[in-house]
Structures are given as structure tokens and as C-alpha cells.
């Protein structure tokens, strides 16, 4: 770290190598949004309560507002931008749309990432396990029901096609 507090950020973001000098000592969320302009991850509360900044770090969900950016050096980050595309949605995204589990969209990026994290660990979750899996993600609009059903349908869809929730596999 030099006197300007610059750090070399070398990591993989959404499957692409990133290597750049960046102002250090910030949160991973700031690095993703301000430096890489990946504004899909939202800052809801900034104190780890709402889950809307959730990203995958080496395949596991973390709250990017509580993660120092330096912790991502040498590792792999997946944000909502790296999960499916408008023409090739991840089954979780498609199911949330079909079911009506999206309203204002503030929680949706974090909710999708948490659901993917859950389905990677547990491809056949019960309703209770889904509720537990997303209990760290606040939603003010939907009442959660359509999100829970959406995740359930995405799990069925993935199992019936023999895929896991892994981003690369699910959007193949």
C-alpha cells in the first residue's frame, strides 16, 4: 500500500480477469460499484441487515458492504451482472419473473445471489430451508411468498435438467 493508499486489485469478476490499481481501504461493494461500474449490487442499509449487496465470493454468498475489498484479491467474485443475461436468464431469475417475485427490484440482485448460494448447497430445499436461505434478504414489496415459490420452481427446473445452481452450469 503506497501513500495514496492504492492497492493492486487482481481478481476474477464475473469470469473476467481484473487487474488494476484502486484506492484501498474501502468496501468490496464500493469497488464493484464505483470502480468497476457494476451497479447491480445495491446498497440498502450498509450495515449487513438487508442483504441487497450480496455477491458470491469463491462461490459463497457474502455481504459486499461488510467485506473489505482487499479480501477479494486473488479470488473470484460473481455479481448479478455475471448471473444470466436478458436472453439467457439463470433459472432463478426466470422463475422469479414467472412467479411475480419481483416488484421494485431493490432486493432482487441479492435475493437471486442468495438463492443461487442456497441451491448450490441444497438442490432440493424444503420451503423452510428456502425461508432460512433468504431470511437475510429483506423485501418490502412482495411479502416473500412469490419469491419462495419462485426459488422452489427454479430448484425443480434445475433438478429436472440435471444441472446445479452453479452460474456457469445453470445458464449453459
Amino acid at each position: 500500500m503506497d501513500e495514496n493508499n492504492l492497492v493492486k486489485m487482481t481478481l476474477t469478476v464475473n469470469g473476467e480477469e481484473v487487474s488494476m490499481m484502486a484506492k484501498g481501504g474501502r468496501r468490496l461493494l464500493d469497488f464493484l460499484r464505483d470502480d468497476l461500474h457494476l451497479t447491480g449490487s445495491k446498497e440498502g442499509c450498509g450495515e449487513g441487515e438487508c442483504g441487497s449487496c450480496t455477491v458470491l465470493l469463491d462461490g459463497h454468498s457474502v455481504l459486499s458492504c461488510l467485506t473489505p475489498m482487499e479480501r477479494a484479491i486473488g479470488r473470484s467474485v460473481v455479481t448479478i451482472e455475471g448471473v444470466g443475461s436478458p436472453t439467457n436468464l439463470h433459472p432463478v431469475q426466470a422463475a422469479l419473473l414467472d412467479e411475480g417475485g419481483v416488484q421494485c427490484g431493490m432486493c432482487t440482485p441479492g435475493m437471486v445471489i442468495s438463492a443461487i448460494d442456497l441451491l448450490q448447497r441444497n438442490p432440493d430445499p424444503t420451503v423452510e430451508e428456502i425461508i432460512e436461505g433468504i431470511s437475510g434478504n429483506l423485501c418490502r414489496c412482495t411479502g416473500y411468498k412469490k419469491i419462495i415459490f419462485g426459488i422452489q420452481h427454479a430448484a425443480e427446473e434445475l433438478r429436472s435438467s440435471g444441472r446445479t445452481g452453479m452460474v456457469k452450469e445453470a445458464t449453459r
Binding site: 441487515e49 411475480g100 416488484q103 433468504i134 434478504n137 414489496c141 411479502g143 416473500y144 411468498k145 419462495i148
Partner: protein, 346 residues
Amino acid sequence: MKLRGIGVGAMMYGLGYGYARPDFSATDIELAPDGTVTIWNGASELGQGLTTLLCQLVAQELGIPYEDTFIISADTGRTPDAGPVSASRSTYVQGNSAIKACRDLKGPLSELAGELLKVDPDRLIYKDGLVQDQEDPNRSISFHNLAGEMHKRGRRVRGSGYHNITTADVDPETSQGDAYASYAWASQLAEVEVDTEMGLVTVLRLASATDAGKAINPKMVEGQIEGGAVQGLGFALMEEMKVEQGEFKNAKLSTYLIPTAADVPMVEPLIVEVFDPTGPYGAKGVAEPATIPTAPTIFNAITNATGKRVRSTPASPERVLRLLGKLEEEEEETQLTFEDMPYPEP
């Protein structure tokens, strides 16, 4: 001990602003040469589905596929003033203005279609992508071709709609009068479990019946009902703004708790459709109506379970334990009870 109880709550709600407060919306639409239609409306999409709804209404009114409609929403440089998105007024006011814009555009459309088909323009109907003579369906022109002809001949291809539901004020002396343009109704039913040791209230089941007038998009109405009930549940059991000297003491999600997926039951939505002749295709607003009855419903269920009545929101564990006599009474601000309210002489 765990006690169970059932409660019912109901409400009526005046849609829009009422009381002579300005309440209007404007929408413009424009027909492209390929038969697609662009809608300009100044109301903000908040996630409730307003843009979807306006496209649905325009598609229905012009008899064209939903995919052929596009919307430019809440662009202050280009969209006409549609008023705010609040007071559960969007479907009702903005929807009506979009329908009026379509009917305005149908004037020149029907005129040209009448000329081309040699039919009285008043006999033309718009459906399935066709403009056809309702008495002789074989005399028709596709909406797509008609749009092209409109442009070739330089006919007017824009339509504007303005809808105003500003009501008269009530009598200043008696407060009597019809304050709102329309009213919505809703009722809810809940079963709760009260843990008398912990003071914790769990809502086991919650059903919500909301009068939508006409559910233009049933899935979106369900979304409003389910989300509204969960917000109401938070109001009933968890949410309390603490204000001291005008300053919020708990303006954080770690201190102002709202329901998580683990705090709520699967809300059972019930859409009631009582046609409202003043609404777009009979529809009216459902947003706030779906939120309002929840707290009284849950409070009634708590009373049914414990025989005691919570007088202020939220019914937090502390308050419930105090109610059950398990915590010492704390000096609480005196709450007006219903029995204390002066009842107006008829």
C-alpha cells in the same frame, strides 16, 4: 403457554386525494408506421407494475398485442404531468387517462378506416389486430396496415388523454359530503399464536380479501395484496418509529426491524371484483387497501387469544407481556380508546 386466536379486520378507503385536492393525470400516445404504439405517462413505476398495466390497457383498447406497446415513463422532459403515484390512485387515474388517449387517437383512425372500408366509422371495432365493421367482420383492415396508411396520408397519429377525478369538498360545517371519487374495501382474517412466556405473537395464517374492482393483471394484484399484508404485519408486531426531539432514534434496519421471510406466513390472497363503473375496465386501486386491515386483524386475534386488548402498535413482546401482567406496568402515554372517543350526534 401458547394461546391461539382468530381475528377479523375490515376497512374502507377513499381512492385518490379527495376533498377538492387536485387529482388528475395526462397520457399521450403515438402510433408508429409499423402499428406499434408508444405511451408517454409521467407517473413513476415503483415496482407495482404501473407501466405494465398502462401497456395492457392500451393494447386492450386498440386491440393490438401487448408486445406492440412501448412506454416512456416519468421523464419530466417529455412526459405529460400524470400527478404523483400515491393514494392508491395510479390504476384508477392514470389508467383512465391512458384509455382516453386511445379513444382520442381512435377518432382519426376510425375516420380513415371508415374511408378505406366504406363503413360508418362508428361501427368499427378494434380487436385481434384488426379494425373491423362490427356488422360485417369481413370488412376489415389490419391495425398494422391502417397505421401505415395514417402516416402516408399525414393524418394525426398522436392521441392525448386527460382524466380528472378532483371531487367537491365536504361541507365545512358538518364535514358531510362525498369526499372521494371512488372507494375501496378490504377485509382480512388471521390466526395467531401468543407465547405467554415470551410475549411473542406469531401469525400462523393470514388471508386477505381486497376489492380490486377488476384485476387487470391478477398476478400484480396478488403481489400488492401479499406485500401489503406483510407490511401491515410489520406495523402490527414489529415496527415503531422512535422520535425524540424531532430526531429518529432508530432510523436503521438493525434498530427498526421489518419482517423477514422467517417472520411471515404465506399470505392467502383473495381478489374480489366488484365492477366500478368509473374505473378503467371497472378497476380501482389496491395498494393501501391491502395494508390497512392487517393490524386490526392481528390485534383482534390477540384479543381472541388472550382476552386482553393491545391499544397501540406494535404488539411487541414487551407490550404483550405487560398486557398479560407479566411485566410491571410502565408509564405509557395515555392512549385514547374507542370508548373514549366522543361520538358525534347524528
